[in-house]
Symmetry: C2
Subunit: 242 residues, 2 copies
């Protein structure tokens, strides 16, 4: 069983207050870049791994998807997703992505937002997705960037000249990283970017796009505090095709 | 015209003394990992971008390649490559990879070792390689890892607890990086890992493997000072197929 941090009261309260939880997709800095990677969703049978409050599920339906199957480990999130969604073509289920079971060749598109870096058996999940998707289907997902996840102390520091630096170490030491983010003892699984890509390739996916997100000029003008994202990427966006 | 640092006396002297220059491929830490990515070279017409002293060209012939065309901007290196190679099927030419001109559909395999991070117009070079290679051909190359290239001060530092850290900044600010390595004012071109991959994909190459090199346990035992490579990767190895 994977760690379910989301249902801890302090985590859920903190997470519920985040911009992306209050404002949905438009509250996420990386959303415009994710959206640019999406295929036409018209008529697609969509699966969303780590659907949270169901923001993407409802977006997919608004884009013309035929159906959406949203999965999340959090009972509280699934409860709110169900309460916020009024569409019989959308179903939500509590599920542990660490042991993903999906019907074979049943989906035309898969999405996941900031969930897969919690998964220990990434190769197993990728193999499940390859079986569940029909040939030609796209899979677009985001994870925390390994540069963001790797360090012993993943927090900004300054060098001798007062310049902001990201104190990278242990990049090539893969495995668990425990941090205190919204709750104490949150466990993430650090993998090199190369490992993530090679796992997808080995399962039979073709790499279509790899985006190490950073703000563009307009986004920087509107959000000057995002400038730190130019120094080290926080989000990794990957688009592959079966 | 690309910067030709190699023919500066101080650079050439320093470079000629490096392990990889004295001992050839076996003197390069990343060579076993590169070799593992190579296809069967039997009968292949090989092009080597930045062939240096010709170590890889001679290796390819020993592996049964039909011919090797080695290109390098350095007159001194080409002169030594010619002097060290006694095989009519190997030809060397002084060439600026920034303006690569190769015969169309004339090669079955392309290789490049630590040369392409000097190239400003990477998209142009990749397009040239795609035209020069026959369908199905592999292209295996190494560059300095963007984590290694990005920082304002690309040198080890220590955090408040005395831990070794790599002071990453400007990862998403692409463009020239000027360092003093063997000679003053060496200019390299920093690109995000995603940019390098997306450029290859856009040109029509399929990504086969992405290796952010770090030593394995045996290599660490034999070379304890390589442990720092676990903290930040220096070499990026990429295998693609046309």
């Amino acid at each position: 069983m994977a760690q379910n941090i989301y249902d801890r009261p302090e985590f859920f309260a903190g997470y519920s207050g985040m911009r992306r939880s209050v404002h949905g997709l438009d509250g996420a800095a990386e959303w415009p870049a994710v959206r640019a990677l999406l295929p036409d969703l018209t008529g697609k049978r969509v699966v969303d791994l780590g659907c949270g409050f169901g923001w993407f599920s409802r977006f997919a339906m608004a884009q013309g998807a035929a159906s959406v199957f949203g999965l999340d480990i959090s009972e509280k999130m699934i409860a709110r997703a169900r309460a916020d969604t009024d569409d019989a073509a959308v179903t939500y289920e509590i599920a542990d992505l660490e042991h993903l079971k999906l019907a074979e060749a049943s989906y035309d598109f898969a999405h996941s937002s900031l969930a897969l870096h919690y998964i220990e058996d990434f190769a197993g999940l990728v193999a499940s997705m390859h079986r569940a998707l029909l040939p030609g289907s796209h899979f677009v997902f985001t994870i925390e960037h390994p540069i963001f996840m790797a360090p012993t102390h993943p927090a900004w520091s300054t060098d001798a000249e007062g310049r902001r630096i990201w104190p990278l170490d242990r990049y090539s030491v893969e495995g668990a990283r425990t941090t205190d983010w919204l709750a104490k003892g949150v466990v993430k699984q650090h993998r090199k970017l190369g490992t993530t890509l090679n796992t997808l390739i080995a399962a039979g996916f073709a790499i279509r796009h790899v985006e190490e997100w950073s703000p563009n000029d307009r986004e920087l003008r509107d959000n000057p505090d995002w400038a730190e994202e130019l120094d080290r990427p926080m989000f990794l966006l990957i688009a592959v095709q079966r």
